[in-house]
């Protein structure tokens, strides 16, 4: 009897889970299901377009589908009954022996301060998905990059946003950053970027290598404030050393000033006629306040659940959350299980733990005749498969402009045209 496993979410956690599960038990039949017509989730739509080295991990995932017998089922939206979608989680559980939720956490965490809905304020998730040409992102909802930008947050996502807003068009060679994005950023001629962090510099969340990378772009002048805010600050701290490195840069021709401030919390966004024009920040003890003029503000303060799978209830009632066990035949991995902390490699280890738990449970699971994907293909005619992704991939690579690796299809309609309406040709 072959066990039928469905992993929901074709991003790093789901793919690592399939990889680890096959190492534990090569007899299982795995389907990785995604809401989008194409696989790889965060690797394709979250990792910055100029970090192709990080995206290279998708070669491991491609191998699952190309050599290891894992099936990709795209364009299938699974959620609780309350959220519509194509099929409910309960219905999916009825046709598989095991269902694993690995959909990550994609909503931007809100600051919950006044003015957050002003035009010009945007979450880092919304922004980076747009920069990665996610089919659900609409350019019309994005603020145009402004002359003065405030970035709230000090993690690696904030550094991604900072780097992309401060790099020059020609520096995107070898990336898959859409020219339309690079041109719109270049046209904005950003003059000043304020980066606001709540913690002291020595405890900021960014990795030093991310900060050093920003200094490689020409024409940037850095102001590092509040290093003395941290009583324990010392130049041996790699984060502080990286910031000091930036401060030493003397550009030949300054095009943009980047200011890092530490130990400040955002208080409110200030605007007129619905449009942002300043950010109000304060010291945690209220001893000092500042008003920073800005026409664009990016919040990069973490991610939360979009509630489409009823995550909160599932997590609260989980049988053994440490090993990913939510209930009978239902598991969670990655950020969906742990919350929004940790990098891609952290989710690899996480998926290995959950795979071990699943393999252990499979040994005692009663026999079943779960139909698996046959039932899905019998019910839906809009599903995409890995071959469809390969056609899209080939098209994107072939149609890219000079200096780019690919030109991403930006709408579901264009993807599905290539994915579903195939005319067989002989070559």
């Amino acid at each position: 009897m072959t066990r039928k496993i469905a992993i929901i979410g074709a991003g790093p956690s789901g793919c690592y889970l399939a990889q680890a599960l096959l190492k534990q038990d090569a007899t299982v039949e795995i389907d990785i299901i995604d809401r989008l017509p194409v696989p790889f989730g965060l690797v394709r739509y979250g990792v910055a377009p100029d970090h192709q080295g990080t995206k290279a991990v998708s070669r491991q995932f491609a191998r699952l589908f190309e050599r290891q017998g894992v099936n990709f089922i795209g364009n299938l939206d699974i959620c609780t009954d309350a959220h519509g979608g194509d099929i409910s989680l309960d219905d999916l559980r009825a046709i598989y022996d095991v269902v694993v939720l690995a959909t990550g956490l994609s909503s931007d965490r809100k600051l919950g301060i006044a003015g957050e809905d002003l035009q010009g304020v945007v979450g880092s998730g919304v922004l980076t998905r747009a920069w990665n040409d996610h089919p659900d992102s609409k350019d019309s909802e994005l603020p145009a990059p402004g002359k003065q930008v405030a970035i709230i947050g000090n993690g690696n996502v904030a550094m991604d946003v900072l780097r992309i807003l401060s790099k020059q068009d020609h520096e995107y060679e070898g990336s898959d950053f859409g020219s339309h994005h690079a041109e719109s950023i270049a046209a904005a001629k950003v003059e000043r970027i304020e980066v606001i962090g709540r913690s002291p510099a020595g405890m900021a969340k960014f990795d030093p290598v991310m900060v050093k990378e920003i200094g490689k772009s020409a024409g940037l002048k850095f102001e590092i404030h509040d290093l003395d805010f941290d009583a324990a600050s010392d130049s041996e701290n790699p984060k502080i050393a990286a910031l000091n490195g930036l401060a030493e840069i003397e550009p030949d021709a300054k095009r943009c000033t980047i200011s890092f401030r530490f130990g400040w919390s955002p208080v409110s966004f200030i605007g007129a006629d619905g449009k942002l024009n300043a950010l109000h920040i304060a010291r945690a003890d209220g001893s000092e306040t500042l008003e920073l003029p800005c026409d664009m503000a990016v919040t990069a303060v973490g991610f939360s659940d979009d509630q489409r799978l009823g995550r909160m209830d599932l997590i609260e009632s989980a049988a053994d959350l440490d090993n990913g066990r939510l209930g009978d035949g239902l598991y969670a991995a990655g950020w969906f299980r742990r919350g929004p902390q940790g990098t891609i490699p952290d989710n690899r280890s996480d998926s290995q733990i959950v795979a071990a738990a699943i393999a252990q449970d499979l040994a005692t699971m009663p026999e079943s005749d779960a139909p698996g994907r046959e039932a899905l293909f019998a019910r839906f005619d809009h599903l995409t498969d890995y071959a469809a992704w390969q056609r899209i991939d080939e098209h994107e690579r072939a149609s890219c402009t000079e200096g780019r690796l690919r030109n991403k299809l930006r709408t579901r309609r264009d993807m599905l045209k290539l994915a579903l309406n195939v005319t067989e040709t002989t070559q």
């Binding site: 080295g53 991990v57 990795d207 290598v209």
Partner: protein, 153 residues
Amino acid sequence: MKINILYGTETGNSEMLCEDLESEFGDDHELEIMNLAEVDPADLDLSVFHVFVSSSYGDGELPASAKPFAEKLEGSDTDLAGLSFAIFGLGDSDYETFGHGSEQLADMLVKHNAKQVGPRVIHDAQGDDLAEDVAFPWFAERVAEAEAMSDAA
């Protein structure tokens, strides 16, 4: 020839490359693949040719699975005299710390009297080549050198 292949990995790319080496060379040689996380430097079989594959991570650091091995080796007086090894790196030339992970590991092994065979080559994630396309010819050359050395001995 018997060859132990040891990988240090963070995202799994080095592990995948070792699996590729096994499929490519496993019929001609007796290969054993091990995660460095599960290897104690004191237990290395000095008579066997060792091939290390390691990425770099973060700011030129060793990848997570190589760290315990490196920490044990560094803090010990383990003598690896007699051990021949070759080392292959995975890196990203976007960063100035390109290949530092494999470099650290190589230096550490040499410091403990192991003998490095051939050059340390680093696959660049920014390049057009796939890791296996660079690693396969490199591996074949290193194995030929190691065989010549053991024949001469």
